[in-house]
Chain length 214, copies 2
DNA sequence: CGTGCGTGTTACTAGCGGTAACCTGAGTCT
DNA sequence: AGACTCAGGTTACCGCTAGTAACACGCACG
């Protein structure tokens, strides 16, 4: 009986937790990453201490929230990466999937990339290097694994794959961020340009006449 | 006489401003981006309102601070990019310059990448897309200009150059950030791996035997 | 009946960014 | 001399935030 009761309670707690996360989601979608705990609690129809009982602190809530979106986006990316097509087509599809996602819900994207960051909660630890958005890290690792599994890069494949994974993800992210702000071209054009870059057009390009060469 | 007096005052104000910036620099170097205005004022031996008279608000101070470091780093990068050598060598030198900089002073680097970002100062504006670190944007634009000036990419060169500029900078940044956290290899190896990526080794790589191909 | 226990609230602390109001001393005009 | 201006600086405050302690209701169990 004790067990059944505990499961019952846990079930209720989980439901509550999901409700709270959805409320938080709505607020973040509306207010961006500056969404305050007060606002989230109000949106959920409760008060702050409950949030803290469920998630510990703001970081906990944000981590839980980020996990959901990150998982969803990663699933899409994996699907694009696994489609049956030529390598270049798949790379383009993956880029396009990512860009479409950040285009569709920029607030969520922004939240994922800059998760609060602040908090004067005395953590004076040197956590430099780990400060990057978890989403970027996870995407980088994921891509690294795919590269390592499928590409033959000779000796040092594993290390090369990890560098490339993070590097390519960073390229995608920075280009996407800039593109989202200035909209200098269509999504398809951006995808093609980035794929061209990855396909070695930089190395293959000729020097401009009269210049010292790049 | 009026002019001389005003220049005298302005000179004094500028000196003061530089002193304040140096104090702020010390604090940021010590406390990271969470450095508070109070702490900075204390380090400078004065009180908050003076800071606000000089820089307007926290964003202003941070912008002024970031400008110094950004200018310095950009100058180094430009030098590496302009060195008399083969294209690949120059690319490697530039990557190495950046990585050496972030390796040498990670706190400054972190500050430049995530300039406060917070602040409850009711700016609920949808500034998504412009949220990226100014340093990244400036580096991207700079690189884009160099690419456009020196490379012959056929029609659409300008747009391609901008995409590549931001993309390459993002690649460098993300890989550097990851590398700084995990230190999976030497700086030289990282530089080589990234240059290899830019040189089209991704496209040239063969599929792994037995796999579906990437 | 009372005793826990989960669920929720109110009311608070400490610290932040930012500002209004005041003070102070040096130079200038009459 | 004495009043007047004005830069430079301080105290004391506002409104906000994240986070917490302490108290109150409802409901099962012995």
């Amino acid at each position: 009986m004790d067990t059944t009761q505990r499961t019952e309670q846990q079930r209720s707690a989980d439901r509550r937790r999901r409700e709270l996360l959805e409320a938080a989601d709505r607020v973040v979608l509306r207010d961006g990453p500056q969404a305050s705990m007060n606002a989230i609690a109000a949106e959920a129809g409760i008060t702050k201490p409950i949030l803290y009982r469920h998630f510990g602190d703001k970081g906990g809530l944000y981590a839980a929230l980020a996990m959901r979106h990150t998982d969803a986006l990663l699933a899409s990316l994996r699907a694009a990466l696994d489609a049956p097509a030529e390598r270049r087509e798949r790379v383009e599809a993956t880029l396009d999937t990512y860009l479409a996602a950040i285009e569709a819900r920029p607030q969520v994207y922004r939240f994922l990339m800059h998760p609060s960051e602040g908090g004067q909660g005395g953590d004076h630890g040197f956590d430099v290097g780990k400060h990057s958005a978890p989403l970027l890290r996870r995407m980088g690792e994921e891509l690294a694994q795919v590269i390592e599994e499928r590409l033959d890069l000779g000796p040092g494949t594993q290390q090369l794959a990890r560098v490339w994974g993070h590097g390519i993800v960073g390229m995608m992210h920075a280009a996407g961020d800039w593109w989202l702000g200035e909209r200098p071209c269509s999504r398809a054009e951006l995808v093609r340009s980035l794929a061209d870059l990855l396909w070695g057009r930089l190395a293959a390009a000729g020097d401009k006449v009269g210049g010292p060469g790049f």
